[in-house]
């Protein structure tokens, strides 16, 4: 009997990881086929960003730094869409730039789709500055004048000939910056845009990065964090209640993935419990 139990504990301890992958794959697939609704609790750090955008007047300028590549689309694209839709619905002008080499396509995809939805015009309602390498140098230069690193926008039009840029020189002329990032660019925005030029800054980052940036929220260097898909779902929830996006138009992509998050987390927790029971029991036997 004891020998049988020991074998069970050993099996629990040495479970082939492919079984874990298989179970998670099955659970995710089943939840995707038969989804259910999960309530989302909105955290203060996400609400801060939403409320800030909500408090902005039509015609004011918000800057969005889009610093992620396709591999982070699942987590960051939904928040990018939600913020952009909220801004365009409120008549807020957007200044977009990119400090990640694979990011220009991310900006174009979002801006092309949402500008069409709200009938917004390039150069009048939004300006896409484009991509420049070396984030530190680029941010420092933008703090002096956007025209130093970006004499032309992404499409080759000189900034001075764009109506929206007439009264925009540097960070002093934008109400805030929201950096949506999957890498080290966030550190540069905190260090140079906020630290050097005192620009008001909020961030949207991947789940992996989120816990690293909470100290900056506490120190007041940033005024909000949207953390991964859960943060994006929170923002979508607020934007839906505000009437900026709707589930009928399939605009709540992160929110709709929350059931998958829930079921998968339950499975992961069960596997952790299983592994720990095996560990402690086999230790007790020895």
């Amino acid at each position: 009997m004891d020998n049988g139990k020991s074998n069970l504990y050993d099996w629990m301890m040495n479970l082939d990881r492919r079984w874990v992958y298989l179970v998670i794959g099955v659970v995710v697939t089943l939840t995707a086929i038969a989804p259910f609704k999960v309530p989302v609790y909105v955290t203060p750090e996400v609400r801060n960003i939403y409320n800030f955008v909500e408090s902005m007047e039509p015609g004011e300028v918000l800057m969005i730094g889009v610093d992620y590549a396709p591999e982070a689309m699942a987590e960051l694209h939904p928040m990018n869409y939600a913020i952009t839709r909220q801004c365009f619905a409120k008549g807020i002008k957007l200044l977009l730039c990119c400090l990640h080499q694979n990011g220009p396509g991310m900006v174009e995809q979002v801006i092309a789709q949402v500008s069409k939805e709200y009938d917004k015009v390039n150069g009048v309602d939004y300006v896409y500055l484009g991509y420049k390498p070396y984030p530190a140098i680029t941010i420092l230069a933008m703090g002096q004048n956007f025209r130093i690193p970006f004499p032309e926008d992404y499409y080759g039009t000189p900034l001075d000939s764009l109506p929206m840029m007439r009264n925009i020189v540097n960070f002093d002329n934008v109400k805030a910056i929201i950096n949506i990032s999957a890498g080290s660019a966030t550190e540069y925005w905190i260090n140079y845009a906020n630290g050097r030029y005192n620009a008001k800054l909020a961030i949207g980052v991947t789940g992996v990065m989120t816990s690293d940036y909470y100290p900056f929220l506490q120190s007041g260097q940033i005024f909000g964090i949207i953390g991964g898909m859960k943060g994006a779902a929170e923002y979508e929830d607020l934007a839906e209640k505000g009437g900026y996006i709707s589930s009928e138009k399939d605009q709540l992509t992160a929110f709709k993935s929350m059931p998958i998050q829930t079921t998968t987390h339950i499975v992961v927790i069960l596997f952790i419990v299983l592994g720990n029971v095996g560990y402690f029991m086999s230790k007790k036997k020895k």
């Binding site: 492919r18 992958y21 998670i24 794959g25 995710v28 697939t29 995707a32 086929i33 590549a69 591999e71 689309m73 699942a74 987590e75 080499q101 694979n102 220009p104 484009g130 991509y131 420049k132 390498p133 530190a136 140098i137 420092l140 004499p151 032309e152 905190i190 260090n191 140079y192 906020n194 630290g195 050097r196 991947t206 789940g207 992996v208 989120t210 816990s211 690293d212 100290p215 506490q218 120190s219 007041g220 260097q221 953390g227 991964g228 898909m229 859960k230 709709k256 993935s257 998958i260 998050q261 998968t264 987390h265 992961v268």
Partner: protein, 210 residues
């Protein structure tokens, strides 16, 4: 969804599944998809860098605007390539010295200010037991102090000092736990998005075929 979307989304679905086959074991499908991702990313980056960095920051100022002093950074850039030669690699040190020197000059004061001093001042919080924020402030102060004692290795971790270090390691574990939880969430997000993509693609495919 038209024929064009069916074909290209089908390729995307096939590549997604090819990548996931690695979870079972390494195989030619995974190798093909992996090499394709690396190749496309590198090619895309090279083109983006050329048109957003090299052309506007060197070709245009030098050839179209006649700013001849742009030759200096161009030469410094070319000098870095001498690293490929054992005989001439010493030349690259001038470029690297300039690059590291200017980078450190820009970064160090601001990093010290924003990543050390601002964080230190954020740990100096008002304490009391009257309100909830003050209780959390006390927890932050205890957590920071005890975590720092764990990393003090000049004294043996015994007695009161050892107890403080013990609380410190628990504090660190809470931080790692939060990080792990968020990492799981991040990885699941990627899987969820791909599964939903394949589900939607199959729906569209069946609709198209019928």
């Amino acid at each position: 969804m038209g024929t064009h979307d069916i074909i290209f989304n089908g390729i995307a679905a096939f590549l997604t599944l090819s990548i996931y086959t690695f979870l079972y074991k390494d195989n030619p499908f995974y190798k093909f998809a992996e090499h394709l991702v690396v190749g496309v990313s590198a090619g895309y980056f090279a083109v983006i860098l050329y048109y957003n960095g090299f052309v506007p920051k060197l070709i245009v100022p030098l050839w179209e605007q006649g700013k001849l002093y742009y030759i200096i950074p161009a030469v410094l850039g070319v000098m870095i390539w001498t690293r490929f030669s054992r005989k001439w690699s010493w030349i690259s040190r001038f470029s690297l010295a300039f690059y590291i020197g200017s980078g450190a000059g820009i970064a160090i004061p601001l990093y010290l200010q924003n990543f050390v001093l601002r964080q230190l001042s954020a740990s100096m919080l008002p304490v009391g037991i009257s309100t909830w924020p003050m209780i959390t402030n006390i927890l932050i102060i205890i957590g920071v102090f005890c975590a720092l004692t764990y990393f003090y290795f000049s004294k043996e971790h015994t007695g009161a000092f050892g107890a403080s270090a013990k609380i410190g390691i628990w504090t660190l574990m809470v931080g790692f736990g939060a990080g792990f939880g968020l990492t799981v969430m991040g990885r699941v997000s990627l899987l969820a998005e791909r599964v939903v993509f394949i589900r939607d693609y199959l729906n569209e495919l069946f609709r198209y075929l019928s």
